[in-house]
């Protein structure tokens, strides 16, 4: 069964009286099988957060529908096995890290010793042991992101929706978060994450979809998308100075030993830019 399925998911925001409606997401058909890490990519304003909010029934789609593990998103039951990390989360400033997790755990019906054990585990997992008894008002952005992840994981959900989990976090923090996602994948969890920084997620995602102006313009396996079939690269050794221009015809003649020929990998960055360039409607944020 698919962890997430959407059918013609469309969202038009009402802009207010006589200003009409804004099409933020158009006929999105997503299928994410259980166990997959799926990256929803796209520039700011392309509709990533809108997609996640529709799946969680925080906003009502104008058309279409979404299902989580086969349960319609409009039902409370669909959220039993979902953890969500919103974009730039803030949480209750007056609570400490420990109290925050206690609150979310209780909301999920976990209590007593089981809850305390779970909090211990998660505090350890996200590396906040030292900040546990400090109020969130004094947390840095990276720490808020971590407590947000812990909060999303409190009830050990089968599916995680992470909105820009690495945005605004320093490189080390971002590395930690990616390691955590990989660990979740090993545990068999399904992850849907969004990002506008393509390079940051290409090594954790099995599959990616690229959104632009509310439409899915590209989707596929990361391995296939980033291996470029049209070119070959030679990895040469012992190349003399000045021999660079001659490599193509003269690599062998120059006496260099060809040690490997492989399909080079393009980055998602260039892949994305190419795809956007081909999208005739334009790119990036619209007004």
């Amino acid at each position: 069964m698919d962890a997430i399925r959407t059918e013609n998911l469309t969202k038009k925001y009402n802009l207010g009286w006589r200003k009409g409606r804004f099409l933020a997401l158009e006929k999105l058909n997503l299928r994410i099988p259980e166990g997959e890490v799926y990256g929803l990519l796209g520039p700011n304003g392309s509709g990533k957060s809108t997609t996640l909010k529709c799946i969680l029934d925080l906003i009502t789609p104008t058309e279409g529908a979404a299902w989580i593990f086969g349960v319609p998103a409009t039902k409370v039951e669909s959220r039993l096995h979902v953890g969500f990390l919103p974009e730039n989360p803030y949480f209750y400033r007056y609570l400490t890290g420990g109290e925050t997790l206690e609150f979310y755990g209780q909301l999920c019906g976990i209590r007593g010793a089981a809850l305390h054990r779970r909090i211990e585990e998660l505090i350890e997992l996200v590396g906040l042991a030292k900040a546990r008894d400090r109020r969130l008002a004094g947390y840095s952005k990276g720490m808020l992101q971590r407590i947000g992840l812990a909060q999303a994981l409190i009830h050990d959900p089968r599916l995680l929706l992470l909105d820009e989990p690495t945005a605004g976090v320093d490189p080390i923090g971002s590395r930690d978060i990616r390691d955590l996602i990989l660990r979740l994948k090993q545990m068999g969890k399904t992850v849907l994450l969004s990002s506008h920084l393509l390079a940051q997620v290409q090594d954790v995602c099995d599959r990616i979809g690229v959104l632009n102006l509310g439409q899915m313009i590209l989707e596929g396996d990361v391995d296939q998308l980033i291996s470029d079939q049209r070119r070959l690269s030679f990895t040469v050794e012992g190349l003399p100075a000045g021999g660079r221009g001659q490599i193509e015809q003269a690599a062998q003649a120059a006496g260099a030993k060809v040690v490997g020929v492989e399909h080079p990998q393009t980055t998602l960055e260039t892949l994305f830019l190419d795809a956007v360039r081909q999208d005739k409607r334009g790119a990036g944020e619209h007004d």
Binding site: K53, L56, D57, L58, I59, T60, F69, V71, V76, E77, R79, L80, V82, G83, F84, P86, E87, N88, P89, Y90, F91, Y92, R93, Y94, L95, F103, Y104, Q106, L107, C108, G109, G148, Q151, A152, H155, L161
Partner: protein, 297 residues
Amino acid sequence: MTERVGFSVARVGTIAANTFTESLRQKVFNILLIFALVVIASASFFAEFAFEEDVAVVASYQLKSIKDTCFGALSVIGMLIAIVGTAMLLPNELENRTIYTILSKPVRRLEFLLGKYLGTVLLTFVSVVLMSVMFLAVLTFKEARLSQPAKAVVEQTESPVEKQKAQEQVAKIRAEAFDPAIVKGILLVFVKLCLLAAITLLVSTFSTSMVFNVAVALLVFFAGHLVGLAKEAWQAQPLLVYLLGIIPNLDLFNVADDIILGNFVPWAHVGKVTGYGLVYLSGVLAAAHFIFSNREI
């Protein structure tokens, strides 16, 4: 196949407790509450002067003045706490996006809304209790002071006539200071505050601005105190009177004046007004639920 997620009182309680804790840790309330306590405490000093000869008459005058100040503080500060406390709930949740983390869990919107509401009701309740305790402390202090001259007479006088008169004075002062009807007045103030909080919550389900919420709630507060008068004035126009029925008649909850004057306020009346408040409040919460469950967040 999947488990059912029913309405959970425990989740409402969790959200209410969290809302209460958060409000308590915000300095605004502590400041408001301290202000109220200072006003109530100082009530006993304002009431010091008097020109009467009779101890009991002087005492009665001073006790009335104290009760007036204390009921005023209770009502006004209580109103500020209930309205401001409620007005910021949803805007804060939306601004901090904490509402996303809550509603993306198996939590019903009704549970969220009720939890938020009960959180401020609890805050209001605690504030009212603290102010009432202070009120009682001031009355106890004042009663002891005011009945001192009469008690001295009881101790010292030889004349049975004077003694009896002084004893009656002591009893009178005691009865007036610890009039159980005060409890009725405080109860109705609390019901009124719960109603105001519900109205503020209703307003905040369709707005995003805390200032707007407070402004509308204050408007309802003032309109609610004028509506009784307006109904009398416009008796000739039944349609108008009917429309005015939408605005809660907050004057109904004000029995403090009667209590201060020593007029009898029957429990039946208190019950009736409380009933009116609860019915009205339920309607307001139902409307809030209807709007909130369809709201985009």
